[in-house]
Amino acid sequence: MGCPSCGGDFRIKGMLFYFSERSLLRKINPCALLSTLIMVNLISFYVSRGVVIATMVLMIGSAWVSKLELRTWRLILPLMTGFLFIITIGYFFFSQISSGVMLWKYPWGDFVTTGTFIAMMDVALRYLVCAMATVLFLANVRESELIALFQSLRFPGLVLWTFALIFRSVGLLVSDFERIIEVLRGRGVGFRKTSLPEGFTLLRNILWAFMVSAFVRMDGLNQTLYLRGIRKPITPITTRKLSWTWLDIGIILFNLLIILWFLRN
């Protein structure tokens, strides 16, 4: 029997999100996915609005074939909302876009025109495409596959270890954070209906528990590496090996060509 919440699909917890083993994107080599991510992030700010919208549609299609759960988007929604809020503030109070009709002017010299709205929407859309591509990438690649990728690309040991420590610590700290939230829910904290003073106390509790667990985790990490005989940065980090197909090579070449073309122009 499959998981009713995910349509009978088999899901595995990766670094940040659950991913489906039946995802079509899981069949592509992480190197090819990484090159696509870099390409999308690079070109998003240079291509016309139409191409950005087309890329977004492509992203939504990719999310569908990778069987990405709706709750994955919900998880990053606060982060995206916060980021879009910063863009809005920036454009509303600190921009001088002269196209369109002048709407109002601030005492410090910045002003808002109808063009400000268009520019703001345009930038928000481009950032959104970048964020979607990053989520798609993180939701289809395990951190050990990324490390294996860097290992196969012969990255120096120190760089490899830095990546490994960052990727793995992030994954563990996210899990620790989830467990703290679970505990608070069990104690009776309803996150949606919390007053402001309650919210501050709650935030203090979460931050305290998270900070302490991060310190304890880091301390434990050092001991773990010692007890397993791991010598940074000499010891290799993973036994995983990545498989390559002609499709992967084709995707990488295509992405490289686009990146080079954009850099030339």
Partner: protein
């Protein structure tokens, strides 16, 4: 092989040594040595001394000699020492470094300069023998407590160290896995001519050991047998003349994790007021999942829950927590405040429980009897893990819920701490409270009223309940 002679170790914050030995002991390869002692008797310090965590990561004053293969331990480089000694500490959770069981298992072998395919083959065999192969792609923190403990031991044993030191390795294991670990350790020591040093809490079965020692107040000495694990101070009366009203009902609860693990398969449960119900079962059988669902932390895919005769669907989290509180198996995420006192009153504060003098006096009494009151302003992380467990239990009792859900509440406690906690819980039941508690190893029969066994996500009545 391993010799300890007139040695002692004192932590900077302590006046008396945490571990000391007058005279000498020599433990040879091919032996299983068990050192048993109460919590705080110096077992973990001894494990850290042998493995080299002290003085590499923890400071203090060490005197005396520890020799491995005739060589003084401080003359060995950390690399040489860790090739010889494998160590699994009690809080195995903190020793997780990767995000999959497979990576965790292979990590230790990577330093042995073996071929990747050889490591893969060996790891697969090891995972199979520890019954973890099916879960190799899982995140280690998604495993049950017992599975995590088995993974921690397996990943160190895969490095085949000549000396294996294990600090309380049975604490999270069920009966079957305990027996299996005992057999594995005996085979590892006798078959592979290795030394296995087991540091166990007092009362833990140790008859399989070749040599037995005791640690009392930090002093290592030849073993002195103690009486029954639990005293007879607590005897619950089960002959209630009037049947009490039903306080908690669960009907056809079903739950499947996103990774397709079916944890609950139609659980039905009815608990009456004032009873202590224990659920036993193997690691990963779904005990913790059931408690989390009842507490409202997880949402079941099917089934209904009634509290005091009312369907909990649509209830606010706070409303449910006023009636029911849960002690989680993982201790560290529950330490949400910087002082012992704040942590002890936090659950009651969250649910808006009004504090009065008599209740505060009760709290003080509980903290005093567990020797925590005089440290009420200190950081809970300075406490031993068993003391933290006790403190969390006190905080839940202070919130005065009707139902207490306790996930392995005694697993890390010493015999004395277990007795104290059981007395409080008994008092809680006598005052009309209800307890639903899980235990992989089972509890003394005189403690609880009803016992169920969780098998394949279903609750089965045990012989005791049938009677």
């Amino acid at each position: 092989m391993l010799e300890l002679e007139d040695c002692s170790f004192t932590y900077p914050s302590m006046r008396v040594p945490a571990f000391r030995l007058s005279g000498s002991v020599r433990w040879k390869c091919g032996e299983v040595v068990v050192v048993s002692g109460e919590c705080g008797s110096g077992k973990t310090t001894l494990a850290k001394l042998i493995s080299g965590i002290i003085p590499l990561f923890e400071a203090g004053v060490f005197e005396g000699d520890i020799r491995i293969n005739g060589k003084l331990i401080n003359q060995l480089t950390p690399e040489e020492r860790i090739k010889l000694v494998g160590c699994v500490l009690e809080d195995s959770d903190l020793h997780i470094f990767t995000t999959s069981v497979w990576d965790e298992m292979t990590l230790g072998s990577l330093s042995l300069n073996k071929d990747a395919e050889e490591i893969a083959g060996q790891s697969e065999r090891e995972l199979q023998s520890w019954q973890l192969l099916e879960k190799k792609e899982k995140h280690p923190l998604e495993l049950s407590g017992g599975e995590r403990q088995r993974l921690a031991i397996a990943s160190i044993m895969a490095r085949s160290p000549k000396i294996m030191v294990l600090d309380n390795p049975f604490s999270q294991l069920d009966m079957r896995n305990r027996q299996s670990l005992r057999e594995k350790l005996i085979k590892y020591a006798h078959g592979g001519n290795n030394l296995v040093v087991l540091l166990l809490p007092e009362g833990e079965q140790a008859d399989f050991a070749d040599r037995l020692f005791s640690l009392e107040g930090g002093e290592l000495q030849p073993f002195r047998p103690h009486g029954d694990v639990h005293s007879e101070t607590l005897q619950r009366s089960r002959n209630k003349s009037q049947p009490e009203s039903v306080v908690l009902t669960a009907e056809s609860l079903e739950f499947v994790y996103p990774d397709n693990t079916k944890a609950l398969n139609g659980v039905n449960l009815e608990i009456r007021k004032g009873t202590w119900v224990t659920i036993t079962g193997e690691n990963g059988s779904g005990k913790s999942t059931l408690l989390k669902i009842l507490a409202g932390v997880l949402q079941p895919q099917k089934g209904k829950i009634w509290l005091n005769g009312k369907d909990v669907k649509g209830w606010l989290t706070k409303e449910r927590a006023r009636i029911m509180q849960m002690l989680f198996q993982d201790i560290n995420p529950q330490v949400l405040c910087p002082t012992i006192w704040e942590l002890s009153i936090l659950p009651s504060k969250i649910v808006g429980q009004i504090s009065d003098k008599s209740r505060e006096n009760n709290l003080k009494k509980c903290l005093e009897s567990s020797e925590l009151y005089n440290r009420k302003d200190s950081d809970p992380f300075n406490l031993r893990i068993s003391e933290r467990q006790l403190l969390l239990l006190i905080s839940l009792l202070f919130a005065a819920p009707l139902v207490l859900l306790l996930d392995e509440p005694f697993s890390r406690m010493s015999r004395r701490e277990q007795e104290i906690a059981a007395l409080w819980l008994n008092e809680f039941c006598e005052e009309g409270g209800t307890i639903l508690c899980t235990s992989h190893g089972g509890l003394p029969i005189r403690w609880h009223d009803i016992e169920f066994r969780m098998v394949d996500g279903c609750l089965v009545e045990t012989e005791m309940t049938k009677k």
